[in-house]
Symmetry: C2
Amino acid sequence: MPPQTRPTIADVARAAGVSKGLVSFALNDRPGVAPDTRARILAAAAELGWTPSLSARSLSVGRAFACGLVIGRSPDVIAADPFFPTFIAGLEDEFSVTGQALVLAVATPGRKEAETYRALATDRRVDGVILTDIRVDDPRIPLLQELGIPAVTLGVPDVASPFAAVSADDGVGIRLAVDHLATLGHRRVAHVAGPDAMLHARRRSESFQAAADAAGLRSRIVETDFSAADGARATAALLDAADSPTAIVYSNDGMAVAGMAVAQQRGIRVPEDLSITGFDDTEIGRWVHPALTSVTTDARGWGLVAARTLLRAIAGEPPARIALADPTLAVRGSTAPPPLAAD
Amino acid sequence: MPPQTRPTIADVARAAGVSKGLVSFALNDRPGVAPDTRARILAAAAELGWTPSLSARSLSVGRAFACGLVIGRSPDVIAADPFFPTFIAGLEDEFSVTGQALVLAVATPGRKEAETYRALATDRRVDGVILTDIRVDDPRIPLLQELGIPAVTLGVPDVASPFAAVSADDGVGIRLAVDHLATLGHRRVAHVAGPDAMLHARRRSESFQAAADAAGLRSRIVETDFSAADGARATAALLDAADSPTAIVYSNDGMAVAGMAVAQQRGIRVPEDLSITGFDDTEIGRWVHPALTSVTTDARGWGLVAARTLLRAIAGEPPARIALADPTLAVRGSTAPPPLAAD
DNA sequence: TTGTACGCGTTATCAA
DNA sequence: TTGATAACGCGTACAA
């Protein structure tokens, strides 16, 4: 018994009585191969159990057949935010059927982000990357242009971008939340926002401001780093202030849950004394008490579309701008009319 | 200006006035290169900005310089469990400094697990894989043996395994929780367990049983799929039963949070009427009200050690059995003595 | 230290 | 149109 060596294209060619090149043509469905010859080649390949070597293919065509995702948040923040696991499942929905691998990198404060992208690029590890949490004047846009890597951004950057973008209009979701609160009768509302440097967080803040103004509500905004701890801090600050809000719109579910705990700890009842809304409608929000009213976004669908769009970009299609369906509001127990003496 | 072509090893050899082979030797710190020649070669490489091509290296040495992680839980369950993001950050702590890439795959019900591993193997995408959530008579062990891929398992499998294992003794953590409750005076306790098919979940159950017996407590165990929804269901069942427990030990934090909500919804106060403990001491548990008493495990450290161990296995070292530090118990507000009339 | 074969597909060139 | 041949991508390993 010969040593366990996998068959090569040469073995297949020999078995089918043709040349290496023709095997390649046959397998890639390219013209110039007679039907019966093609059949003979495919049969030989199947018989031998031959699969083209990925590394050989990578070397000759210069593609990695993989895409990259660099997560730039600190571990604490990703751990508290179920968006990423769900989004990644969505990416895989597409990648797994197209034979792409997903290369995941984590750029914590210690591992600089730019280095991570550069490493991915110089090694040609990936054929393209997905950019999440787009920031104001995001340095990754010019960096990836320089590196010559195709990309897809989640949301449209505020700088000129040659990349495809897949966006959901967070503003619509925030507006739904504010309108819901206004309809319930709230007059003093607050927003616990994400980092103002992140475009989607900023957009949520702006939409909050606009919606509150339109509804004639008094409003306040507190910025956070998206972590549950910071959400708790922000909530405490809001509740301590004179003229504290009767409703708080949070920029993610984790912070909303933390905020709810802070309120309850002070004997402030949710929703009787304070209404709370979350964002992303994650699993955990459904299982706290009271259940969280939250803006529903389709993280998994977003992943799927982002992956698909990136693959098209890699294939050379011009950068597309794709808009996802607008978010909706899942109304649950954490919102109610304000206390009677509120105003 | 010539087309943007990256320099090859031949370019470096020419620039340094040596042969290709010697460049390779110099770069890999191998003997047989005169010091000054080596310096000249390195200088030339730096000057040209040359980096060895990963795909060429992969082809010639037959390594992918990447490791794989296949997550087999359903997206709902991963989204609710912060263990994975944190664990992945730990993997990256090691991989990022050793030039390995992390290939992440998600094997949902639709994408069969075995196929995923097979695909990884036939494409030689990875040099080794990390196996989490080891199950009873886990089919992945023989599968990976058959595929010839090195692996590291999280925990020691119950079948003969040729792979390295990195384990934390969950039993210790559960015992700490039960003893804590017994000391507080509880006499009727319950455990909301993970899937009995998962070895670590089963171990937690067994330890719970043993600890409860040893302390002379009446006990009950309910199995779940680890999801928050199932945790809620299990809690409802426990609270509905006659002779319901005064304390519940959960197998993860997400379920504990969900269980707490179910109790509160029924007007059962935590911890006055019901004590609750979680597992993994995740961020969210610190920010619910009351804060969750939870077993602290070091997911990130686990990732680091697992990655390191896998790399050693890939390098050919014999399979190691590594034990991590024992978990501890973080006591917070969700546990207290049972109500007076409890017994 | 050097030269060269080798790993393995892909693709351009050329002959039938 | 069908097929063969050979060059190519790039680093590694071994004989010289």
